[in-house]
Symmetry: C2
Subunit: 239 residues, 2 copies
DNA sequence: TCAAGCGTATTGAATGATAAATAGCAGCTA
DNA sequence: TAGCTGCTATTTATCATTCAATACGCTTGA
């Protein structure tokens, strides 16, 4: 019998267990998952709990469930991978360089444009929030502390400043991407002052309402990391 | 008692009914929704059905449900608005120009970069698919038929050609955006040949592996529509 | 060989009962 | 009065059981 974690309620834990197992590829894409009855037995819970977990995973596009056919894993391209649970589950293991590259390729589309929108449309308090995050980055660097949290806040506050709900919704994606990146990019970013300068340029461009410059500054910021990853992928010969 | 549609099974219909009601703002953000028991009565279904619907909407980030507190609507920024159900529900009414603009602002980040990635990395069969869609656009224009489907296929096949799972996942978003746009942009696109030429330029750039040109061509394509919307918003004075 | 029909496995839905969680109130203490 | 503690009622959480609907695949009959 699989062991369930202690937090949350039973059906949420079931959801996490099953969801993780699916995204980690523990079930074959082709054949069915165990039936509801079998899952009840395996996890030692009632059918209600299993069914609620199945419903939640269906809502995330991971599985489908039909009478007499059982529970099937959906094709991966149908999964709602912008769902924060899915992002977390799929990255709890060891994210490959390939996934890291895919994150950066996405960020390089979103964030420069978000910065441009921020420069054009952001309300003052949103710009203030970006500046605050930048200041906290500076303090962390001076105090030799971990600067990841302020860094994440900086990028996310720009998404908010875009004043566009779709950009704002990329919050969890960006947070996850930055959390995942840390292990890799920390290796190269031996120059915290340079990093902060690059961030400051983005902020200044946004604060002064210069959309084009904000976009370019953010592009450079991310492109540097992307270039590094692509170079590393070439070196390894993977992909 | 609310009337449920006939398709699908009961809990899915409940999910749709409730979900639609929430995104359409029929419940106040602040106060709780009716209790499970009340929802059972209102919709004339069992608690099982209500609970499964609640679980599915929780999985989409729309609501949270806790003992003694009841069912609460989550802040809008936590909704998984890239979920295709949510996109559909929120656009079934009359999409405002503002939402239309937000869609285009997002597309202008995603699609040019997707085209650039496609030019660099697409496998031959993906490029073939783009070409096929373009050809079908041409045929539709010549035959004076509805060219929306081929148009959508064109844009989506470029997402696939990016060979990046996150871009591919924007499929439903892009499809929805294009479906929504039709009512507005059809007004201006009195020049189908010009539209097809613009699309052909994107295709040619991708097929010839010119990332920069692919990106610019796609940018122009979307920027034109965005410019139109922004102009219209100015004219109306809204926003 | 094939088509129609049937049995059966599996999910869908309802019901009733009990457990667990918690918001809010009452009362107690300093 | 302020703040803490514990009680209670309300609401969701979980379970067990039952019946219904559905569709796969076997059997049967021509």
């Amino acid at each position: 019998m699989a062991v369930l974690e202690r937090n949350n309620n039973l059906s949420q834990r079931m959801t996490q267990q099953l969801g993780r197992a699916i995204v980690c590829g523990e079930y074959s894409q082709n054949e069915s998952l165990p039936t509801e009855a079998e899952l009840c037995e395996q996890f030692g819970v009632s059918r209600t709990a299993v069914r609620e977990a199945v419903k939640m995973l269906s809502a995330k596009g991971l599985i489908s469930s039909r009478p007499r056919q059982g529970i099937r894993i959906m094709p991966e391209e149908d999964w709602n991978i912008f769902d924060s649970d899915l992002l977390r589950w799929s990255l709890e293991g060891n994210p490959s360089l390939k996934v890291l590259k895919e994150f950066l390729q996405m960020r390089i589309a979103i964030e420069p444009e978000a910065a441009a929108l921020a420069a054009r449309f952001a309300r003052p308090e949103r710009i203030q929030a970006i500046g605050d995050a930048l200041e906290r980055m500076r303090l962390a660097a001076e105090g030799d502390e971990d600067g990841l949290e302020p860094d994440i806040d900086f990028h996310i506050s720009i998404l908010y400043a875009s004043e566009n709900r779709f950009y704002i919704r990329m919050r969890d994606f960006t947070r996850t991407a930055l959390n995942v990146s840390i292990s890799h990019t920390n290796v190269i970013k031996g120059n915290p002052d340079g990093v902060i300068d690059d961030h400051a340029k983005v902020y200044q461009a946004i604060a002064s309402g210069n959309a084009e410059r904000a976009k370019n500054a953010m592009f450079l910021l991310i492109d540097e990391a992307l270039g590094f990853i692509e170079h590393e992928l070439d070196r390894i010969g993977e992909m």
